[in-house]
């Protein structure tokens, strides 16, 4: 099966619903559409934040995401995948990123969306800095995210770095 895929990294806001709908619009083979939207929260831990700023590694970010989208398409029977990730300054309540997956059946759509999120969190070269009342702070990577990504490792598969 050939799946359509879209990967965009941009500073501009995006319309998650409209982007997801492009995967199912005008066709009748999509039975399941999963959309994940990551939204900027107004707090980090117990502290309020005024905004977050996302730094990224241009070129590598696109390549890493495209590589994982291709892997998702090879693992699950998908019809379409869209990943959009913003960089720059984002205020609470605004969307940071989205993953949408379309398939004939829900299992593939859910699994691929979770797989992509786990890898985006741990392998895509983006770094979040939050504006707290006492200054700007880089967000710490979470061990739980590494563990979540680890569950998708294929037996015998070798990753270049952990």
């Amino acid at each position: 099966m050939t799946a359509t895929s879209t990967v965009r990294i941009q500073s501009e806001p995006f319309d998650a619903a409209a982007e997801a709908r492009k995967l199912s619009g005008g066709r009748t083979d999509v039975g399941a559409l999963v959309t994940f939207t990551g939204i900027c929260r107004g707090n980090e831990g117990a502290e309020p934040i005024a905004a977050l700023t996302l730094e990224h590694y241009p070129g590598m970010a696109e390549a890493e995401i495209e590589r994982h989208v291709a892997e998702a398409i090879s693992r699950w029977p998908l019809i379409g995948v869209t990943v959009i990730h913003r960089h720059g300054r984002i205020v609470p309540g605004d969307d940071i990123m989205m993953v949408a997956t379309a398939s004939s059946h829900r299992e593939a759509a859910f699994a691929a969306a979770e797989f992509l999120m786990d890898y985006l969190k741990t392998r895509a070269p983006f770094w979040k800095q939050v504006e707290k009342p006492d200054g700007k702070v880089w967000v710490q990577a979470k061990a739980a995210d590494d563990a979540a990504a680890g569950r998708w490792a294929a037996p015998g598969k070798h990753e270049a770095a952990e």
Binding site: G38, L54, E55, H56, Y57, G59, M60, A61, A63, E64, H85, I96, M97, M117, L120, K121, T122, R123, A124, P125, F126, W127, K128, Q129, W138, V139, Q140, A141, D145, E159, A160, A161, E162
Partner: protein
């Protein structure tokens, strides 16, 4: 060889990128981090704990044991926190 720094590695080094002449005997990414740490106070601070720093050669994740011989761009950065 072009070096790029991101997030707090960039802030500590004080620049986003630079071109460097790497001396002989520097074979791996790990060797390169040790050498960089010796280049001054800001580098010593940035590379004080090389275990937490990730690296990419020509925009692909690599381990510290990776050879740098054929690299044209090497990037150093903290663990990723996107998504």
């Amino acid at each position: 060889m072009k070096l790029r720094y991101f997030a707090w590695v960039r802030e500590r080094v004080g620049k986003a990128e630079e071109d460097v002449e790497v001396p002989g005997g520097i074979v791996t990414v790990g060797d390169l981090m040790t050498w960089l740490a010796s280049r001054g106070e800001e580098y010593a601070y940035a590379f004080a704990n090389p275990k937490v720093i990730r690296a990419a050669i020509d925009k692909t994740h690599v381990k510290p044991q990776a050879a740098i011989a054929s690299a044209s761009e090497i990037a150093f950065f903290p663990p990723m926190t996107g998504g």
